[in-house]
Every structure is written in C-alpha cells, then in structure tokens.
C-alpha cells in the first residue's frame, strides 16, 4: 500500500506546494529569497507531518530520509513555480490559472484515494473534458462559427483521441487485474503512454476550437465593419 501511495502521491506534493506558493507569491512583503525558503521549509514540514501521520517509526534513518525528501519536493516546487512565473510575465496568465486549477484538481484526486480509485477518477475526468469538446464544436457549427472543413478536422483528431482513450482504459483494466506488482507496473507504464497520447490529441482539439472560433469571429467583425462603411 505504501508503494502505491508513493507512486501516485509522490508527484502531487510539488503541485500542492505550487498552489500554496501561488498564494504566497502574491504577497509582496516577502522577498524572492524568502519565498524560496518558505517553499523549502513547507516541503520539509509537510514531509515530517506525513511521517507522523503514517505512524512510521521515528528513527534517525526515517527522519533524515523524510527531511531530504521534503527538501527536494520544496526545491521542485520552486523550480515549477519559477517556470510558471516566467510564462505569466510573457502574458499567459489565463493559461497558468487554468493549469493551476487542473493541477489542484488532479492533486485532489491523487492525494485522496488509493491507486485504483485515483486512476479511474482521473480517467473519468479526462473523458468528460473531451466529450464536452464535441458538443461545443457541434454548437459552434450550428451557429456558423466553424465551417464544415474545420469541423471535419476537429472530428478526425477527436476520434484519434478517443481511440487512445479506449486503449488506455483497456490497459488500465489489465493493470488492475494484474496479480503481481511487476506486471502491474508494466501495464501502468503502457497506460501512461496511451493517456499521454490522449492528452496531446485532446489539447490539439481544444486549440483548434479556439483558433477556428477566433478566426470566424474576426471575419464577422470585419464583415460588420465593411457593411458599416458601405
């Protein structure tokens, strides 16, 4: 069970801490150096809390292990935050806010459940996102904001994403039914590959919808302007 928690929960601490940092970094009373220090202390503090929470024997080896683990997670959170902060300065604030919301949601799911439950909940949430993209495209096509060709392009990528999603689900079922940890980990690795393909294709669908919608709105504005000039 501990292995399962580490596997699915190990990545969530930096995300959770990044979310905390997003709040801390809004306060200008702290200098940048102080903020980094806060992140590192937060990492160490949370890992020590985790040690007590899991009722792990408090011997020197465990304490040192957890302090180092927490320190590294704090450093990872600082690195992640710095990367995001650069993008925010580049004007991508909305993207970052969206990313943070997704990170918090995923952390919530991964932190709160044992592995089967966490994996299947993540799987369900991702599927709902793509289902929505289909109905959004269809409603845009009805309004004439997306042409038939554009709709066909989105449909093609959607179906590819769906195929990856179905394959990921089938592999997840095999992982769940695996009798030993080695074969389960091998299936989970395969599952991650299909899920990554699915995420990449889904992102492509969302970007196309945004791009086509923007172009058609600009065309409508242009037509209105021309009509007004006449």
């Amino acid at each position: 069970m501990n292995e399962d928690l580490v596997k699915f929960g190990g990545y969530t601490l930096p995300f959770l801490m990044t979310a905390f940092l997003a709040v801390i970094y809004q306060f200008h009373v702290f200098s940048d150096k102080m903020k980094n220090l806060i992140a590192l202390l937060l990492g160490v503090g949370l890992s020590i809390l985790f040690l007590f929470y899991k009722r792990i024997p408090c011997n020197i080896v465990n304490i040192v292990d957890y302090i180092i683990y927490g320190f590294l997670q704090g450093a990872a959170a600082v690195g992640l935050w710095k990367t995001l902060n650069i993008q925010v300065r580049g004007g991508g604030r909305r993207k970052i806010q969206g990313f943070l919301v997704m990170a918090i949601l995923m952390s919530l799911v991964a932190c709160s459940s044992p592995w089967r439950n966490a994996a299947v909940t993540t799987y369900e949430v991702l599927g709902i996102g793509l289902t929505e993209s289909k109905s959004i495209t269809e409603s845009l096509a009805l309004q004439g904001l997306v042409t038939k060709e554009q709709e066909a392009k989105i449909k093609e990528i959607y179906n590819k994403a769906r195929a990856a999603y179905i394959s990921a689900g089938n592999v997840l079922k095999l992982a769940s039914g695996a009798v030993d940890t080695t074969s389960r980990d091998a299936w989970l690795l395969e599952y991650d590959k299909f899920l990554n393909d699915f995420k990449t294709l889904s992102l492509e669908v969302y970007n196309l919808i945004k791009q086509f919608k923007k172009i058609s709105l600009l065309e409508v504005e242009e037509a209105i302007r021309k009509g007004g000039a006449v």
Binding site: L105, L108, V109, C111, S112, S113, P114, W115, R116, N117, A119, V120, T121, Y123, E124, V125, G127, I128, G129, L130, T131, E132, K134, S135, I136, S139, K155, Y158, N159, R162, Y165, I166, G169, L172, K173, S176, G177, L217
Partner: protein, 60 residues
C-alpha cells in the same frame, strides 16, 4: 451571446465533474479524520472504465 453560451457550457461541464470529484473530496475529509479509505475492487474499476468509455461516443 457567445459569453452566455460559454457560461452555460462551463456550468454543464462543472455539473458533470461534481459527481466524479465529490467522492474524492469525501475521501480527503475521511483521511483527515484518520479513517481508512478503502480502495475500489477490480470489478468496480472495470465497470467505471466501461461506463467512461461508453460516454465518449464515436463522432460519425
């Protein structure tokens, strides 16, 4: 008009996400209270994966 449609679509998405995420939030509260959070069985996972796959229809 577009903003209203977008808001409706977002509300629909949140509505669909709530039933999926609510048990995860309940699990967090249970863990804070010190209760053990049991995992789902293999059969339950298969049923949920099948249901999620069925929801994502092929676009013909």
């Amino acid at each position: 008009m577009n903003s209203i449609l977008l808001a409706i679509e977002l509300l629909a998405l949140v509505g669909k996400l709530v039933p999926t995420l609510a048990p995860a939030i309940k699990n967090i509260f249970d863990m804070i209270k010190g209760m053990d959070v049991p995992d789902i069985t293999h059969d339950e996972l298969v049923v949920r994966v099948d249901a999620a796959q069925a929801k994502l229809e092929e676009w013909k």
